[in-house]
C-alpha cells in the first residue's frame, strides 16, 4: 500500500516547542499566585489514625488550607484511571482513617510557598495505633493474616478477609489431564520484583477557577476524561463544573493512568478559591505513585516429542500493595496477552489471584502483566527447547499463532471479564523471527563453541504479543473541522504523553484529506474542547484513536467533495481529492482546498465542513516481536554485559517509522533496566530504601547495548492505514531473552530479576557447591488453596 504522508518519518508536530524549551509542561505554566501543596504521608506500614491535630499547622504562617480525613468526603473510589465502571475495587478514600503503607496519604497542606507548606505539614500531630504489617505475598495469604481492608464500605474486593483483591480463572479443555498424558512436561517458577516507571517528569497538577467559577485542572495525565469523572465524584460537583487540560507530558508509562493528585489540587482550589499546585518530589514519585505488580508465576508446559504444545498451565499470585488499582486487569493480562501466542495448545488453565500487602501500590505499567507473564512463559519455552535439544527458534516456529488463526483465550480471558472471540488478521511473526535471527546472526552465534575464559557469552531469544486497545470497551473520538485556507483542526481526546500520537494522528488525517502534515493543526487533550477518548493506555492510541481520526477524515473528505461538486456543477462521484485539490478524473476541472474552505464559510449556502467520529474496536490486533540478545557473563563478578540486542517488530503499517522505532527502543531500554538493575527495596518495616535515581538504577547510555529495532511491516485490515499499536510490547522482551541468554552462557536459570551481579554470582556459587537435597519446588497456588 502506498501512502503520501503515512509511512514518512515526519518531524513531531510538537517537536519545535520541545527542542526550544517552550513552557509547555504543567510545571511551566503555574499561576504565580498559586498555593503550594505539601503532603504528609504515613511513616507506618499499617496503622489506624486515632487522632489527628492540625491546629498548629493551620496557624502556621502562610497556610491557607489543611485537608485530612476529618474534612474531606469519605467516598470510596479507585485511583485507577479506567473506563466507567472501573474494574478495580473501590478501596481508597481521599484521606482515610487508616494508613496501609509507608507513604500513604495522611494530610495535605496548602500554603503560600512550598517551604511553608512543608514546615506546616511537619506540625501536624497524628496519633497512630500500629497494626501488624503484611509485607509479602506469603504473609498476605497466611492463615490469620492481618486484614488490610477491614473497612465495611469498600466495593468489589474479592475476599477482603483473606487479603485477596481479585481472582481470575480461565479454563480451556483439561490441562491437568493433558499434562499427565504429555510426552514432555517442563515447569518453572519465577518471581518478579517491585519496579517503578520513573518518568523524568514526576506527577504534577494545578487547579484554578475560571471566570465562571468552574474548576480548571491542568495535569500531567494519560487520562484527562477519567480524571474529570473521578474528581467530579470525589468533589461532589457536576462533571461540567470541571475542565481538565493535559498539555505536554514528561512521560507516563502507566504511572499517569492514575488519579493521584488531581483530587487534592481541585479540592484546595474549591475550598480557597486560589490556584493550587501539587508536584511530587522524586521520592514521592517512587513511594506514593505506582509500581509494577510484583508477581510469583508458575508455568507448566506439556508437549509432544516434536515440541508441539498440547497443554499450558499458568498460575499467578500478584501483589497489588495497599490498594487494588488495576489489580484485576493486570492479572488478567498476564494470561490474555501471552497465552494466545501458542495456540497449538488445546488445553489451557490460567489461575491467578492478587493480594493486598502493606507495601507501595502497584498499578498500570507499560506491558501491563504481559511483561511478567511473558517471562514465565518464555523461560519455560526455553526449557522445553533444551529438553528436546531443539533450536529455540524452531520450537517457536512449531507453535506460534498465525494469520487466520484464533486462540480460545481471546474469548475466555479479557480484561477483568470474559474476552472477545478474535481471529488474527495480521501476523508477520514468522517474518519477525527470520529477520531478527538473520540480523542478529543467531545460528552462527548459537553454534559457537563455548567460551573458556573468565567471561562466557551466550545468546537467547523470546517472542511476544500484546494488543491494540481493549475491544468493545475502549472508545476514542476525533473531531476535524476545515478552515478557510484549506487547513484543518484535528481535535483529539487521545493523550500524547511523549509517544508522538499527536503527530501520527495528524499524519492519518493528512493522508485521508490529501494535504501535507503541516495543514493539520493537532490539539490534544482538553475536556472542554476535544471529544472523548479513554486516554493513552492499553496500546490503544494508534489503533483505536487512529481509526476514529481516519473515519472523521473520511467524512470530511466526502463533505469537501460535495461542496466542490456543487461549485463545479459536476457529479460528486466524478471527483477525487488529492494533493490539496479536488479534481475531475480527467483533470479538466478542479478546485483547491482553500477555495472550498472559503466557500464553506462565505457561501453560497455556507456551512461548516467538519465531522466527529468515534471508534469502539471489535478486536485488539496484537503486534508481535521476536527478540534476540547476546550477553557476556563475568564468572568472577557475576556481571552481565549485553553485547547485542535485536528486536524485529510486526507493527502493521508504521505510520511514522522513526517514532515507531523509538517506541520500541525506549520500551526495550526500560525492560533491560527491569531485567538487570531496577528494584524497589524495602526495610523490614516496609519503608522504601532506594527512593531516588542514584540508588534505584535506571539504565543509562553506558549500560545499554546497541538496541537494533527492525520494523517488519504487515497490513492490519481493520487498522487505520493498516496500523497496529506498539507502545508496550517492546518492554516484554528483555527479561526472558536475557535470562535465556544467560542460561546459554553459564547454564544457570535466573528466575528472580533483577539479575544483579551479586545475585548471579551467588547463583553460580551455589551451583558449583555440592548439591544438597533441596526442598522440592511446588507450584505456589496449590499450597494456598
Amino acid at each position: 500500500m502506498k501512502f503520501n504522508v503515512v509511512g514518512e518519518s515526519e518531524r513531531r508536530v510538537d517537536g519545535r516547542s520541545l527542542v526550544t524549551g517552550k513552557p509547555v509542561f504543567v510545571g511551566d505554566m503555574v499561576p504565580a499566585d498559586a498555593l503550594h501543596i505539601a503532603l504528609l504521608t504515613s511513616p507506618r506500614p499499617h496503622a489506624r489514625i486515632h487522632s489527628i491535630d492540625t491546629t498548629a499547622a493551620e496557624a502556621a504562617p502562610g497556610v491557607a488550607c489543611v485537608l485530612t480525613h476529618l474534612n474531606t468526603p469519605p467516598t470510596r473510589y479507585t485511583t485507577a484511571g479506567q473506563g466507567y465502571p472501573e474494574p478495580s475495587p473501590y478501596d481508597t478514600r481521599m484521606f482515610d482513617t487508616k494508613v496501609r503503607f509507608v507513604g500513604d496519604r495522611v494530610a495535605a497542606v496548602a500554603a503560600e510557598t512550598r517551604a511553608a507548606a512543608r514546615a506546616a505539614a511537619a506540625l501536624i500531630e497524628v496519633d497512630y495505633e500500629d497494626l501488624p504489617a503484611v509485607l509479602s505475598i506469603d504473609a498476605a495469604l497466611a492463615p490469620g493474616a492481618p486484614v488490610i481492608h477491614d473497612e465495611e464500605d469498600a466495593l468489589d474486593i474479592w475476599d477482603a478477609q483473606r487479603n485477596i483483591a481479585s481472582v481470575v480463572s480461565a479454563i480451556v479443555g483439561d490441562a491437568r489431564a493433558a499434562l499427565e498424558d504429555a510426552e514432555i512436561v517442563v515447569q518453572t517458577v519465577v518471581e518478579t520484583q517491585y519496579a517503578q516507571h520513573a518518568p523524568l517528569e514526576p506527577h504534577v497538577a494545578f487547579a484554578h477557577l475560571d471566570d465562571e467559577g468552574r474548576i480548571i485542572i491542568v495535569t500531567s495525565t494519560q487520562v484527562p476524561f477519567h480524571v474529570r469523572r473521578i474528581v467530579a465524584r470525589l468533589l461532589d460537583v457536576p462533571i461540567h463544573r470541571l475542565r481538565v487540560i493535559k498539555p505536554r507530558i514528561g512521560g507516563g508509562f502507566g504511572a499517569k493512568q492514575e488519579v493521584l493528585i488531581e483530587d487534592i489540587v481541585a479540592m484546595v482550589t474549591m475550598r480557597t478559591g486560589r490556584p493550587a499546585l501539587l508536584e511530587f518530589t522524586r521520592k514521592e514519585e517512587f513511594i506514593s505513585s505506582r509500581t509494577r505488580h510484583p508477581m510469583r508465576l508458575a508455568m507448566r508446559l506439556g508437549a509432544d516429542a516434536m515440541g508441539v504444545l498440547d497443554a499450558i498451565e499458568m498460575e499467578v499470585i500478584s501483589n497489588t500493595g495497599a490498594y487494588g488499582a488495576h489489580a484485576l486487569t493486570v492479572l488478567s493480562n498476564v494470561g490474555s496477552k501471552t497465552l494466545p501466542l501458542y495456540n497449538r495448545a488445546r488445553h489451557i488453565r490460567f489461575d491467578g489471584k492478587t493480594v493486598y500487602t502493606n507495601l507501595p501500590v502497584a498499578g498500570a505499567y507499560r506491558g501491563y502483566g504481559a511483561t511478567q507473564g511473558s517471562f514465565a512463559l518464555e523461560t519455560a519455552m526455553d526449557q522445553l527447547a533444551e529438553r528436546l535439544d531443539l533450536d529455540p527458534v524452531e520450537l517457536r516456529r512449531r507453535n506460534h499463532i498465525r494469520t487466520g488463526e484464533t486462540s480460545p483465550i481471546f474469548e475466555e480471558l479479557g480484561e477483568g471479564r470474559k474476552g472477545v472471540p478474535y481471529t488474527i488478521s495480521s501476523c508477520e511473526l514468522e517474518e519477525c523471527i527470520s529477520v531478527g535471527a538473520a540480523r542478529f546472526g543467531w545460528h552462527a552465534k548459537r553454534a559457537r563453541p563455548p567460551d573458556t575464559g573468565p567471561t562466557r557469552r551466550g545468546v537467547g531469544m523470546a517472542i511476544q504479543m500484546q494488543g491494540s486497545g481493549i475491544p468493545l470497551i475502549d472508545m476514542a473520538a476525533a473531531t476535524i473541522k476545515m478552515n478557510d485556507d484549506g487547513s484543518f483542526n484535528l481535535l483529539v481526546g487521545a493523550t500524547d504523553l511523549g509517544t508522538g500520537s499527536d503527530t501520527i494522528l495528524g499524519q492519518i488525517a493528512a493522508e485521508v484529506l490529501g494535504v501535507p502534515l503541516d495543514s493539520i493543526v493537532v490539539y490534544s487533550s482538553d475536556t472542554d474542547l476535544t471529544p472523548f477518548d479513554v486516554g493513552a493506555y492499553a496500546s490503544s492510541t494508534t489503533y483505536v484513536s487512529g481509526r476514529a481520526v481516519e473515519s472523521a477524515a473520511e467524512d470530511v473528505r466526502q463533505q469537501i467533495v460535495e461542496v466542490a461538486a456543487s461549485a463545479l456543477g459536476v457529479n460528486a462521484e466524478s471527483l477525487h481529492l488529492a494533493d490539496g485539490k479536488v479534481s475531475t478524473e480527467d483533470g479538466a476541472a478542479g478546485l483547491d482546498l482553500a477555495a472550498i474552505g472559503r466557500r464553506s464559510f462565505y457561501g453560497p449556502d455556507p456551512a461548516q465542513i467538519g465531522a466527529t467520529a468515534s471508534c469502539v474496536p471489535e478486536g485488539s490486533p496484537p503486534p508481535f516481536t521476536a527478540t534476540f540478545v547476546e550477553v557476556e557473563v563475568d564468572l568472577e563478578t557475576g556481571f552481565i554485559r549485553l553485547l547485542d540486542y535485536v528486536c524485529a517488530v510486526d507493527c502493521g503499517t508504521a505510520i511514522n517509522p522513526r517514532l515507531a522505532e523509538g517506541q520500541v527502543e525506549g520500551a526495550i531500554a526500560n525492560g533491560i533496566g527491569y531485567a538487570l538493575t531496577e528494584q524497589m527495596e524495602f526495610t523490614s518495616e516496609g519503608r522504601t530504601k532506594n527512593p531516588d535515581l542514584a540508588r534505584y538504577q535506571l539504565p543509562g547510555p553506558l549500560d545499554l547495548p546497541p538496541i537494533r529495532v527492525f520494523l517488519v511491516e504487515s497490513y492490519e485490515p481493520t487498522g487505520p492505514m493498516g496500523a497496529k499499536s506498539i507502545a508496550e510490547i517492546g518492554i516484554n522482551g528483555p527479561l526472558p531473552a536475557i535470562a535465556n541468554a544467560v542460561y546459554h552462557a553459564i547454564g544457570i536459570r535466573l528466575t528472580k530479576p533483577p539479575f544483579t551481579p551479586e545475585k548471579v554470582w551467588r547463583e553460580m556459587r551455589a551451583e558449583s557447591l555440592p548439591k544438597q537435597s533441596l526442598p522440592k519446588q511446588s507450584l505456589p497456588i496449590a499450597d494456598n488453596r
Binding site: 517537536g15 527542542v19 508509562f253 511523549g498 522505532e661 527502543e665
Partner: protein, 154 residues
C-alpha cells in the same frame, strides 16, 4: 541577596534566597526549560551551561552563579534551529521532551570541545542525563549527525 547573572547573553539581576539553587532561580525567572526531575543531581534534566560547561543547575547554589554566563535551551536557536535541535527532530530523538533541554546542552558542551566525537564519547557524555523514553538510540544518532552538520557549516 541579589545576584547578577547573564542568561543567554542577557544580563539580569535577581533576588535569591539563601541556599536557593540555580535551577529554582532560573525556573522562577521564566527559564522553565530548566527541568526539575530529581532535585539532587541524579537525572541531568536541569543541566545548563555555566561559563560554557554543562552543570546540573540543581546542584549549583544560585549565589555561585553571580557574575557568570549561563546558557539555557531557550537561547540555543537563532532564526533557525541549532543543528542539535534540528538533528534531534529529524532523527526522532525527542519523545516526551522533558530531558531534551538538559541533554542537548550537555551535548553542546561536548561538541564545542570535541567537534568530531565517537559514539562512545557521546555515550560517556550523556551518562549523567537520564532519558526514560528513547533508550538513547536516536539521541546518540542525532548528536553525531549534529556534529557532522556543525563541522560542515564551519
Amino acid at each position: 541577596m541579589r545576584v547578577a547573572i547573564s542568561v543567554n547573553g542577557r544580563r539580569t539581576e535577581v533576588d535569591i534566597e539563601p541556599g536557593e539553587s540555580l535551577m529554582d532561580v532560573l525556573r522562577r525567572s521564566e527559564y522553565t526549560s530548566v527541568k526539575n526531575g530529581c532535585d539532587r543531581g541524579d537525572c541531568g534534566s536541569c543541566a545548563v551551561l555555566l561559563d560554557g560547561r554543562a552543570v546540573n543547575a540543581c546542584l549549583v547554589f544560585a549565589a555561585k552563579a553571580d557574575g557568570r554566563e549561563i546558557r539555557t535551551i531557550e537561547g540555543l536557536a537563532t532564526d533557525d534551529l541549532h543543528p542539535l535541535q534540528s538533528a534531534s527532530l529529524d532523527a526522532g530523538a525527542v519523545q516526551c521532551g522533558f530531558c531534551t533541554p538538559g541533554m542537548l546542552l550537555t551535548a553542546l558542551d561536548l561538541l564545542e570541545h570535541t567537534p568530531d566525537p565517537t559514539e562512545d564519547e557521546v555515550r560517556e557524555t550523556l551518562a549523567g542525563n537520564y532519558c526514560r523514553c528513547t533508550g538513547y538510540v536516536k539521541p546518540i544518532e542525532a548528536i553525531l549527525e549534529a556534529a557532522a552538520r556543525m563541522r560542515g557549516a564551519r
